[in-house]
């Protein structure tokens, strides 16, 4: 059931990239439709094949549901839907990028993994001044040009922060008990 994929090639590319000098950081990039996105490799815990999710009620369509990751329950976010592209029609070839955001582990549903890039800080361009009604620039950490492609670097901490209200800070089940008297 836990079909972890793509880890071996990832490791290979990583070593190659590690040879480049230290001011660079590595990004895992993936595609959604014709667009390419990247997240810092340090946030990525693993990449796994799609497994059917369990739906969560009454949430925006980009919260696909939850899956069982070796005994813990993690939510899966649909990146396409997050950017208004509608829910992804999943196939067996779709991929979930499991990222660690602070204390929390989450999965991001994307079409395919495309690359691992070593990107220097200088090479990252700020997002253009777009109408904030169009894009909330907060969750973009910059743009990068790889050959002739543009890679949108994501700030995963912010990207899905909308759903995780800090008022609901993680609590352990069962909830704290009231003290009698």
């Amino acid at each position: 059931m836990n079909t972890s994929t793509a880890l071996a090639p990832v490791a290979g590319i990583r070593n190659e990239a590690a040879a480049v000098n230290g001011t660079e950081e590595q990004y895992v990039t993936f595609t959604v439709g014709s667009e390419e996105y990247g997240v810092n490799i340090l946030a990525v815990r693993e990449i796994r094949g799609w497994t059917p999710e369990s739906r969560l009620p009454n949430l925006p369509d980009y919260v696909r549901g939850v899956i069982n990751l070796r005994g813990i329950i993690i939510p899966i976010f649909d990146l396409r839907a997050r950017f208004g592209g509608g829910a992804t029609e999943v196939t067996r070839r779709h991929v979930v990028v499991v990222v660690q955001v602070g204390e929390r582990t989450r999965g991001i549903l994307v079409d395919a993994i495309s690359d691992i890039l070593a990107i220097g800080h200088d090479a990252i361009k700020p997002p253009p001044d777009v109408d904030s009604g169009l894009i909330d620039a907060e969750y973009l950490s910059g743009l990068y040009t790889a050959d002739d492609r543009m890679v949108t670097l994501l700030n995963v901490e912010r990207l899905f922060a909308v759903e995780v209200h800090e008022a609901d800070a993680p609590a352990k089940t069962p909830p704290a008990l009231e003290k009698p008297v």
Partner: protein, 780 residues
């Protein structure tokens, strides 16, 4: 640095346990029947806390523990008689010790004067100690000074140090060991008694670990007739003398009954076994004749048996006076870095075997690590179930070996799961042991006489359950003493023993733990409860309630029968909170009462909070789990049972009451679900406050134990959802929160509240008669 803090952590954890041991022991301590083992256990606990505290430099703590220890030493010495005021003082001292530990842990400043009163009380006890031969005045002024880490000891030491010091000059002058066994009074060595020679050479830093040789020497003296000689061969010149170092060593010749074995002597040195060299030798009677006249202790050594080699070496080196320099002594003993205070380095390990066993056979593990293990085993069980599922689809008659292997795997995983779960299990005694204290205090506050009887303390439950039991039990026991038991005079008048009995018991029953609190008091005053409930509008006037229903009124929020607020209860928080706590643990509570004879509260709880008894239901493609405790029954309504309520919502007639129906598919927006309740199923559920709801679902798939997983750890809380779980096929299912569902359905359709015309009976919890048995009735 980090290492040190880890040791500190361990010290605090151990201290907490030791404090509990000491407290339990103190509570059992009563005038008259003093159990010396108990007293020793308390002494050892306090001593260990002091010793560790010394190592970390908690001076306030050490100073206080020292006073405490001194009194305990007097008790075990039978110098100090056990009286009720003494026990009270010692309990207070134990509390203070806990407080000081807390300050040490938080690295906070201990408030000035915190310990003054108790120290003064302890000192008074020390000074009044009966058997001490008493030139006390000299010691008294010293005792009033700031508590010192070293004994401003009582007079018993006068003999030990006094003689030695007096001997110093002579010994120096002659360059001869003052130890001279030949000088022993011969008359004491009568036949039938054993003559032990104990050479005790502490390492120089013994005092820094909070140990006190005087205690040990005194303890030896108690075992028989002792002749103690102090060796000064390591004593440096005054210029080189470091005040915190210990330069003395001792030879003790002890005449004892044969009943006193080597164990008893070794026990005296239990705490210092790896901080000193001890040689214990024994001579069999008749002693005096066989005894060589020479000062050399090597002779008795030769006669004796199983003394371990290093100890023997130490013994002879001790006798060989100046040859044994401080450098030579540690070398004589195998170095055991990190051996801690376990019995590993103890000479002649027989005596300490049982103690050593306790320390060596347990291990402290971070709970997170165990949780991870539990998770992994859970995953494995699921995977195993999945494989079994697939294998079942294979053609019959083939793969025989695979099937057999799988069978074995299933058995192993089952055992593995059980043993992993049992790692977290803890006997309820850790909670029960706190209750005598509570009973004592409650009895004092209410001027009642109470006897607490406990049974089933060894029943094991998951750690989290045990922790969560404290509050409800505390409240129930207070309740029993305050409301249940009559005052002693009244009891006498009605022919009951003056002292009331509260019985606390635990037992396993059909996969749950059942805890009962029984008292032999007056029972629930039903007329009073009923009139109170009517007064508060909880029950309509004129409603006829069964006795059981009346008894259960005490669980309603805001209910209190106390006429006035007492110290103990009646602050508006009461049994309703107890019930809420219990239900949030997945448990149930019931009360049974007989007027004039007493009441019995019965708690039934799951053995672990990690697992929940649930009913798996399906709605469309989705599956959910409903906690079994919420389910009353499930049924398929006939069209005649369903009615619209002012065109807004649907209600169903169920057992004489109208219950509002909630369509889960509508609430959760699930496509493809059954919309018609007469073709699906209605699961009648009930919240903790007793209100009911009919959940319309497609199907009830069956009852199952599920492992509770947090949804919040990686996501967030969701309305109507309590947690999540993983089903046998590896998929996630949400565990529904019935109270939350009711709230949601109200918000979505605010006008459609539950029917208002329900009788008083409907507000009540269901009769608890069927408590231990599963409560749902399957009518599917």
């Amino acid at each position: 640095m980090e290492d040190l803090s880890r040791f500190k952590q361990t010290y605090f954890e151990e201290s907490a346990e030791l404090l509990a041991i000491a407290e339990a022991g103190l509570l059992r301590l009563a005038p008259g029947e003093v159990d010396m083992d108990e007293v020793n256990a308390i002494f050892r606990a306090v001593h260990s806390i002091k010793g560790g505290g010394g190592a970390f430099g908690f001076t306030d703590l050490v100073a206080f523990a020292h006073e405490f220890e001194t009194v305990m030493d007097g008790v075990r010495n039978s110098d100090i008689p056990v009286t009720t005021p003494l026990v009270d003082t010692l309990i207070r001292a134990n509390d203070l010790l806990a407080q000081l530990l807390a300050y040490a842990r938080e690295e906070g400043e201990v408030p000035a004067g915190l310990t003054d009163d108790t120290v003064a009380a302890l000192r008074r006890i020390q000074q009044n100690r009966g058997a001490a031969p008493a030139p006390a005045p000299a010691a008294a002024p010293a005792a009033s000074a700031a508590p010192a880490a070293l004994p401003d000891e009582e007079d018993a030491e006068a003999g030990i140090f006094g003689d030695a010091l007096a001997a110093i000059n002579a010994a120096r002058a002659e360059q001869e060991p003052p130890a001279d066994p030949a000088a022993l009074p011969e008359d004491t060595a009568e036949p039938g008694r054993l003559r032990w020679t104990i050479v005790f050479r502490p390492r120089g830093d013994l005092l820094m670990s909070g140990n006190e040789p005087a205690f040990m020497l005194r303890a030896l003296k108690r075992l028989g007739e002792a002749e103690i000689t102090c060796h000064l061969d390591r004593l440096p010149s005054l210029q080189n003398l470091e005040a915190e170092q210990l330069y003395l060593s001792w030879t003790v010749t002890l005449l004892t009954d044969p009943a006193v074995g080597r164990d008893r002597i070794e026990d005296v040195f239990e705490f210092v076994a790896d901080e000193c060299d001890i040689a214990i030798t024994v001579e069999t009677p008749p002693a005096p004749a066989a005894m060589p006249a020479g000062p050399d202790a090597a002779a008795p050594v030769a006669v004796t048996d199983p003394v371990p080699a290093p100890a023997t070496a130490a013994a002879s080196s001790a006798a060989a006076t100046s040859a044994a320099t401080s450098a030579g002594v540690p070398a004589a003993k195998p170095a055991e870095p990190g051996a801690g205070k376990s019995g590993g380095a103890r000479p002649g390990g027989n005596g300490g075997a049982d103690h050593a066993g306790i320390t060596n056979h347990t291990i402290r593990v971070d709970l997170d690590k165990i949780d991870r293990l539990v998770n992994m085993v859970g995953e494995m069980v699921i995977t195993q179930a999945m494989i079994a599922e697939h294998v079942r689809e294979l053609p019959q008659g083939q793969f025989q070996e695979l099937l057999e292997g799988l069978e074995q795997l299933a058995q192993h995983t089952r055992e593995l799961r059980e043993s992993v779960m049992s790692i977290r299990a803890q006997p309820v005694s850790s909670v029960f042991s706190r209750m005598p204290r509570l009973v004592r205090e409650c009895a004092a506050a209410t001027a009642k006489e109470v006897q607490l009887v406990t049974s089933g303390e060894t029943t094991e439950v998951d750690k989290t359950v045990v922790e969560n039991l404290v509050d409800p039990l505390t409240h129930m026991i207070r309740n029993s003493i305050d409301h249940g038991l009559e005052p002693p005079d009244e009891r006498e008048r009605i022919g009951k023993p003056r002292a009331g009995t509260v019985h606390l018991s635990a037992q396993h029953r059909s996969g749950r733990i059942v805890i009962e609190v029984t008292d032999d008091g007056r029972g629930i005053n039903r007329p009073k409860v009923l009139s109170k409930a009517i007064e508060k509008g909880l029950v309509q006037p004129g409603a006829s309630l069964t006795d059981e229903e009346i008894d259960n009124l005490i669980f309603l929020p805001g209910f209190s029968t106390a006429d006035q607020v007492s110290n103990l209860s009646g602050r508006g928080v009461g049994m309703d909170v107890v019930r809420r706590n219990i239900t949030s643990l997945g448990g149930r509570i019931g009360v049974y009462s007989t007027p004039g004879e007493g009441s019995r509260f019965v708690l039934s709880l799951p053995l672990t909070l990690a697992v929940l008894d649930g009913m798996v239901i399906s709605v469309g493609e989705e599956r959910f789990v409903l906690p079994l405790t919420n389910i009353v029954e499930s049924l398929r309504p006939k069209p005649a049972d369903l009615h619209g309520l002012v065109g807004k919502c649907e209600v169903m007639m169920a057992r004489g009451d109208y219950v509002r129906l909630v369509h889960l598919h509508a609430l959760f927006g699930i496509p493809g679900a059954e919309r018609d309740a007469t073709r699906g199923l209605v699961v009648l559920v009930e919240t903790e406050d007793g209100s009911r709801l009919g959940l319309v679902v497609d199907e009830v798939l069956g009852q199952q134990q599920v492992v509770i997983k947090s949804l919040e750890a990686n996501f967030r809380r969701l309305d109507g959802v309590a947690a999540a779980t993983i089903l046998g096929d590896g998929r996630v299912a949400l565990i529904l929160d019935v109270a939350g569902l009711r709230e949601m359905s109200r918000h979505t359709d605010p006008q459609d509240d539950a029917p208002r015309d329900r009788s008083a009976g409907a507000v009540l919890a269901p009769p608890p008669a069927a408590l231990p048995a599963p409560r749902q009735r399957e009518t599917v």
